[in-house]
Symmetry: C4
Subunit: 190 residues, 4 copies
């Protein structure tokens, strides 16, 4: 089993996921400024999803950098994580075109919850394969908290959207993205 | 002729096949829970096809791992297999949007039959090129039964769908996917 | 300038061209056998274009196998060839959905003429770069006749479609594809 | 952090951006010559965007050829540049389908302005990483004027489109593309 082909295949899928979302950006044939402005939920949903898929790619990249070997289980955990990420364009288009209807924001956050959970399963299968006390596992374990935090924030977002505050829920999800750009030393203090 | 570029091209096509299917996931602009639930044939068709294309990729990966050389005939057998796999998004969308109409499940299973047959032709052309008694051919021959089993199950699924039990036919196709996740030693006992 | 990245980028574009054509395969939501059969122009147009793009990829692969170096002019000749190939999905969809209307078959053959011409310009720029008497140029010159033949057949197809025999024109284009599968020694005799 | 995977991911995204634009080329099901001719804004918008994305790829290729190392900031500046480039298919489709409505040409040029600005930020982050007096930075600084010129021309195009001369604005944007094909020594004289 070859780590490089797994990485290349994942990169290909992520590159397509991130790009086909653009097919859902649409304005009427002879648009006015107002048409563009009214479509803002579509544009900012696209922007958020672009950043989130970029984050998955970057996290995947960092994760596999230290990987020494892969097996069949890792391959399928990776496919499982890609499956949930492949639903992001759908969830994004629905959220954008419905202008943040509560239900669509809940579904969007739910897809992100499954993306995070399946990524955790992938990490676990890699740790199991490399041994709990390997260098790989020690490095990876340090990032666990970020994953748990993402999970918690997305669950809160689901609840807030369920309470019928979808735009606040959207802003909460934006936080999960911003969190990754905060340098580690500041995160540690918090 | 270069094995690596053939693998990379196949990976690219499979990555696109697996991802563009998501473009067929659609709910109304202001969806209710019921809208999502009613679309379940679209979602589980997508999930099954995602797993099946993932399996093709994984099988392709294993097959070419042992390949020493490729020639023009292998290149075109590979293209022929990719052609049938490229019809999976079409067959999936039709099956999902018609909510498992018998005919669409038959067509879906038929496409899978041709995917399996063309994969067998690809394997044969590789065996012929490497020699019947090469290490490559010995390894590959061990997996023959899985291919034959897939073929048989899909033909049964076509018949069951033709008898107007499309949902049972769908479940039978799900079995062909699950079969690959059963460890070899358990398969051997059966 | 790096030959490998040029090849990888071309492969990526060709993989997408060959795969997005499948998005134009459509049957009504609850199809009958007749619906599938009536769509046969869409399916065989797709099949032909799949083979033709596969041939371009394979030809590109063979061409660049012997390439020693690339420059800016080669890069843009390559982009120019990819541009015309990128119009194949459009020409295919139009020809299929209009059920071989004469004009659409003419446009399809015209796109193929430009694909062939731009490929010839790419070959010329590579020959100029490697020197007329290099090994690369000697090898490549042997394939010139195939290119000229493709050009001639497609021009005939345009004329036949213009005379309002679009289905015969389509069959003539199929010949340009089949020609490549005839072994060289038989071609030489003819 | 690995330069090669960043290049491969960028290439994948650019290959998809350049190719999915073709999905917006459409003529009626039974087209006449007039239908094709009337769609000329769609075709030449596509052609221009194909060349511009080709230029971004080629520029990216040249830029990263000399790159020694990448860090997290470079990765995100690269994602930011890809984000703006990913909006090109949307801006192209809008401009083409509205037959060069002033507003859509302004939006197209605006997207190009952000593509140029974000590319400059990427270049800056790479210069900062390599040191201002490194070979990399010296080489890259020589191309600065081309970037500034692109920016200036696109801003002029926005103004001209705003004055309700969208077709002249379009021709001005075509100039930004042609400029890159003029050899450097002629550019220097001007």
């Amino acid at each position: 089993m070859d780590k490089n082909r797994l990485e290349a295949f994942s990169d290909g899928i992520l590159a397509i996921i991130i790009t086909i979302m653009v097919l859902d950006l649409k304005v009427p044939a002879n648009p006015t400024w107002q048409n563009y402005v009214e479509e803002y939920p579509v544009f900012i949903s696209y922007a958020l999803s672009f950043v989130l898929v970029g984050l998955y790619w970057s996290t995947h990249h960092h994760l596999f950098h230290g990987v020494q070997k892969v097996d069949n289980k890792v391959l399928w955990m990776n496919m499982f994580a890609l499956f949930w990420q492949s639903l992001i364009p759908f969830a994004t288009a629905t959220m954008g075109s419905s202008k943040f209807a509560s239900l669509t924001v809940m579904v969007y956050a739910l897809v992100l919850v499954f993306c995070t959970l399946s990524h955790m399963l992938l990490v676990n299968s890699l740790i199991k394969l490399h041994g709990l006390h390997s260098n790989f596992s020690t490095d990876v374990n340090r990032d666990r908290n970020k994953g748990n935090l993402t999970l918690a924030i997305n669950l809160i977002a689901i609840f807030v959207a369920y309470m019928d505050f979808p735009r606040i829920a959207f802003l909460i999800i934006v936080l999960t993205a911003l969190k990754w750009f905060v340098p580690n030393r500041i995160m540690d203090k918090i």
